[in-house]
Symmetry: C2
Subunit: 163 residues, 2 copies
């Protein structure tokens, strides 16, 4: 169990952050990280404002929280977001070890507003042909290089920080 | 069709970038964006070095390319990466409109080196119970707020930049 009680007030704040961001030339998305000890870190969508396709509200909130706390591990934190997270944001939350995600609007409401979240879910849930039509991903055989070299060097280092 | 011919030399460079990054206190991952006109933008894993769980090599390369080119759209670009991209990196590539992804080592080789990529693929490919065990994601009903307010304001703006 997470110690962090889910809160409609926090979700309302994420929605208010989203609305404020639209007034500030950002996309209609807002997020709020609340850590187990109650620290709060907002994030907003700055994709077009900052020319960063990865600057979704959830990713920005995770980056803000980690930078402020000096950690790459947000275990115990809840991620509140104004809209159902896309696959990039869900996987970012997994890597950040967030304990729970709570959202307000869903992927279909985002699609109705013109955003591709729903299509990108289909990349992960679709057939190989559907994936390939959206984004071909292929492996090339080693040819003039050793693909295991980075891992071999990494495993030999006593100073490596695992995560 | 992409105009950008897939190149073993570019993939070898991504692997070399990964190896160099290990020598520079980074994780064992490297990436290279090559645009349709041949511009090249490397990226390295700085998760622990920068306290940013989203700073995977592929995400960093996408951010570097977009910042340098002043765009959030990398249509026509190929993303070369030393290791099969995790779901966060794949979805980042989708949002960046990258045209193709090419990798060297695979998710199982990353798992053997201690990285969770394979487990996080299971989040997207697994059952609802498996997803919930990794990261509970839930919707809360509107309670004291209107979840559609950000989209409604967004849709009313003539100045909005769609993506």
């Amino acid at each position: 169990m997470i110690s962090n009680t889910l809160s409609a007030e926090n979700l309302a704040e994420a929605v208010a952050i989203a609305t404020d961001n639209v007034r500030n030339a950002g996309g209609p998305f807002g997020a709020l990280i609340v850590t187990a000890d109650g620290s709060r870190f907002p994030g907003v969508n700055r994709v077009t404002a900052n020319n960063d396709p990865t600057a979704h509200a959830e990713v920005t909130a995770i980056r803000n929280a980690c930078a402020a706390l000096g950690t790459f591990d947000l275990s115990g934190a809840v991620l509140y977001t104004s809209c159902e997270p896309c696959p990039m944001c869900l996987a970012s939350a997994l890597w950040a070890r967030v304990s729970s995600v709570v959202y307000a609007a869903d992927r279909h409401e985002a699609a109705a507003a013109g955003f591709d979240d729903a299509a990108f879910y289909e990349f992960f849930e679709g057939s190989p042909a559907e994936r390939d039509a959206l984004l071909p991903v292929q492996r090339l055989a080693d040819n003039g290089f050793d693909r295991s070299e980075p891992f071999t060097l990494w495993s030999s280092l006593d100073t490596r920080i695992e995560y």
